[in-house]
């Protein structure tokens, strides 16, 4: 398989890529930090990957990545940016650039290629934060909500292409470098998320909540009437 990953050096990205590092798979890794990408490339090679290419790509700049000329079987987008202060509006642009605009731009570009190939799987990392806006999650939640909405729209629009698949991954609170210094509820690990993603990929799921219980927690949270919800502090 030919696998692309954007935000490859993120904790979630690395965890998923390592699970996929077998002799059949070649990787194209995109990220900001060249030295981290190179180390990750070495890592995947040492774990048995067939081939690894790395390319610098900054989600904040309005540019498109250089895609390989070969067919692409799987593309994973796991870039994300969580501002320190959830409602710091000076970060509005960065939050939406990294979490939304850039993801949509890359997705459209990839889906165009998938349409030509007539197949392909796109895995995009959203968050349970997308399900309902909360003060503690602020702009990040808003950007992820927009992303969820876009992915669901795109999924419907591609119903003529049965072999093109869009998967939304919605992790709960995961202990990563993005959330370093934050104590969140029911913490899970990148490892668990990666396992769930691999299982979800094999089953061909559309939306993956990880760990599974978040689906039901968020379903419950969505049911709370707004008048009551605004009083809460979680």
């Amino acid at each position: 398989m030919n696998i692309l990953c954007f935000g490859a050096t993120s904790d979630l990205g690395r965890a998923v890529l390592r699970k996929l590092a077998t002799a059949n798979n070649s990787f194209w890794l995109y990220g900001r930090d060249k030295s981290q990408l190179t180390s990750l490339g070495l890592d995947l090679k040492n774990r048995g990957a067939k081939g690894v290419e790395v390319d610098c790509f900054d989600a904040e700049k309005k540019e498109l990545p250089n895609l390989p000329l070969l067919t692409i079987d799987l593309a994973i987008i796991c870039q994300g940016y969580l501002p320190k202060d959830p409602l710091d509006f000076s970060e509005l642009e960065k939050v939406f650039d990294v979490n939304f605009f850039s993801v949509v731009r890359i997705s459209e570009y990839l889906l165009e290629k998938f349409k030509q190939q007539k197949f392909g799987t796109l895995v995009v990392f959203s968050s349970v934060a997308a399900d309902r806006g909360r003060a503690k999650i602020g702009l990040y939640g808003a950007a992820k909500s927009a992303l969820d909405s876009y992915l669901s729209a795109r999924r419907q629009s591609l119903k003529e292409y049965p072999l093109i698949k869009i998967i939304t991954v919605k992790p709960g609170f995961v202990k990563t470098k993005m959330t370093a210094g934050i104590q969140g509820p029911l913490p899970s690990t990148p490892e668990t998320v990666a396992e769930d993603v691999i299982v979800g990929l094999a089953k061909g799921k559309d939306v993956i909540y990880t760990p599974w219980f978040w689906r039901w927690i968020m379903a419950g949270i969505k049911l709370i009437p707004e008048g009551m919800f605004k009083r809460f502090n979680f």
């Binding site: 050096t9 690395r14 981290q36 180390s39 990750l40 040492n46 774990r47 470098k177 104590q183």
Partner: protein, 419 residues
């Protein structure tokens, strides 16, 4: 919001300043830094009240793996669990692993951690062949003979940030340990069994029940065997802040542990995880001690002074403070690498205590006893030892001072550093 905490959750420090280390990082002269891996030390050597934490867990790539030479080069943020899951299926293993697999390689080197096989392999840094570190003076690639290498091994993260390390591996025939159990009636017997039979096995450890009159124990020995088995998937996360450990529960726990081993076959094959990391199945067992946390006290006595353990046990018994968990291990004659490395040939006793006021007085008293007998207290598990205790038992401190970086400091170092 306090997040940077040590494993025993005492003392709790309100400091959340942190930075992700990256290639283009530059040290500011006015600040102090402290590398932070997984926060698994039972001490304040991983804490700083005023400095900034340098986070490394995202540096966890395998940079080179050489099965012929039996070496692996990994970045320092690599967690033991991940490394072992990579190595074991390929027929390799780390010669030295501590009691938990949730620590980083950087942390293992900085504390020169030891495991159940010290008499065969020495401690962690005995397996390290090369290091790459960065500090306020620049970036250094170090070989074993470099003085900075020697200072960094067991250097408590004070000589700089460890970036990557090359580690020697051992080949293993399977992923299970052939475990043999022996039961001891009293403390003396436990020591004797450990010392006498150690040569026959690569790994040994003794669990002690301080709730019995004479301190009965279970000594387990192990060697890697050819058989393969699956690791158990069981793992538990305790989501409540409720304190579980008290006198009754720790009494019951110790009895159950003993019973569980009594009914077991004395010789069995178990997965390496179960042998080396029995507590890791409960992901946050440190929360069992409630919001106040707990203390672990680990002392080391030279073989010739092991009779002093008798006095230690007697004092603990008479104080009425009983440790929840007690573990005894033996250290062989292999010389440690680092200037501040903990191991010397002898026996080491680790005790977990609930925190109470009298405990501190008791431990101060015990510290003196240990130091007088030529022993020492493990810095990685200490939050309270006095400056004199530390300086007396680690004579190479003055040499270490030459290599300590001015921009690196921990709460532990502030407490014990020479004037």
């Amino acid at each position: 919001m306090v997040i940077f905490e040590n494993w025993n959750r005492y003392p709790q420090i309100q400091n959340n300043q942190h930075l992700l280390w990256s290639e283009n990082f530059s040290f500011s002269e006015l600040k102090t830094y402290l590398p932070f891996g997984k926060g698994r030390s039972y001490g304040d050597c991983c804490l700083t009240d005023t400095g900034e934490y340098l986070i490394i867990p995202h540096l966890d790539n395998i940079l080179d793996f050489n099965p012929q030479a039996k070496t692996i080069t990994v970045q320092a943020g690599m967690v033991l669990k991940d490394l072992l899951e990579f190595l074991a299926p390929r027929g390799f293993f780390l010669p030295v692993v501590p009691g938990t697999k949730f620590i980083t390689i950087g942390g293992a080197i900085a504390n020169d951690v030891h495991g159940k096989g010290h008499h065969k392999f020495g401690s962690f840094c005995n397996q390290v062949e090369a290091l790459e570190i960065v500090n306020s003076q620049g970036k250094f690639s170090l070989k074993r003979e470099d003085p900075l290498f020697v200072a960094t091994c067991g250097g408590l993260g004070l000589t700089g940030l460890i970036i990557s390390a090359t580690i020697r591996l051992i080949s293993i025939p399977g992923n299970t340990i052939q475990q043999n159990l022996f039961f001891s009636q009293n403390f003396q017997e436990a020591c004797d069994i450990l010392l006498k039979l150690a040569d026959l096995y690569d790994f040994s450890v003794c669990w002690l029940d301080f709730w019995t009159e004479d301190i009965a124990g279970v000594v387990s020995f192990g060697n890697f065997s050819q058989e393969r088995s699956k690791p158990s998937d069981f793992s538990l996360f305790w989501p409540f802040k409720l304190k579980l450990v008290n006198k009754v529960s720790s009494f019951v726990l110790n009895k159950l542990y003993m019973l569980a081993h009594r009914v077991k076959k004395t010789s069995s094959n178990i997965h390496y995880s179960k042998f080396f990391f029995p507590l890791d199945n409960v992901l946050n067992w440190n929360y069992f001690y409630g919001p106040k946390g707990f203390l672990q006290w680990q002392c080391l006595l030279p073989v010739e002074a092991r009779s002093v353990f008798g006095q230690i046990v007697k004092k603990i018994k008479s104080s009425g403070i009983t440790p929840t968990l007690a573990v005894l291990k033996n250290f062989g004659s292999i010389k440690p690498v680092g200037l501040l490395s903990f191991p010397i040939e002898g026996l080491t006793l680790a005790l977990d205590f609930q925190i109470c006021e009298e405990l501190f007085r008791l431990l101060d008293w015990l510290d003196n006893l240990v130091v007088e007998a030529g022993g020492r207290i493990y810095p990685a598990k200490d939050v309270r030892m006095s400056k004199t205790t530390f300086l007396k038992s680690f004579p190479k401190v003055n040499e270490f001072l030459k290599f300590k970086d001015r921009n690196f400091c921990s709460r532990f170092w502030k407490r014990v550093q020479p004037e």
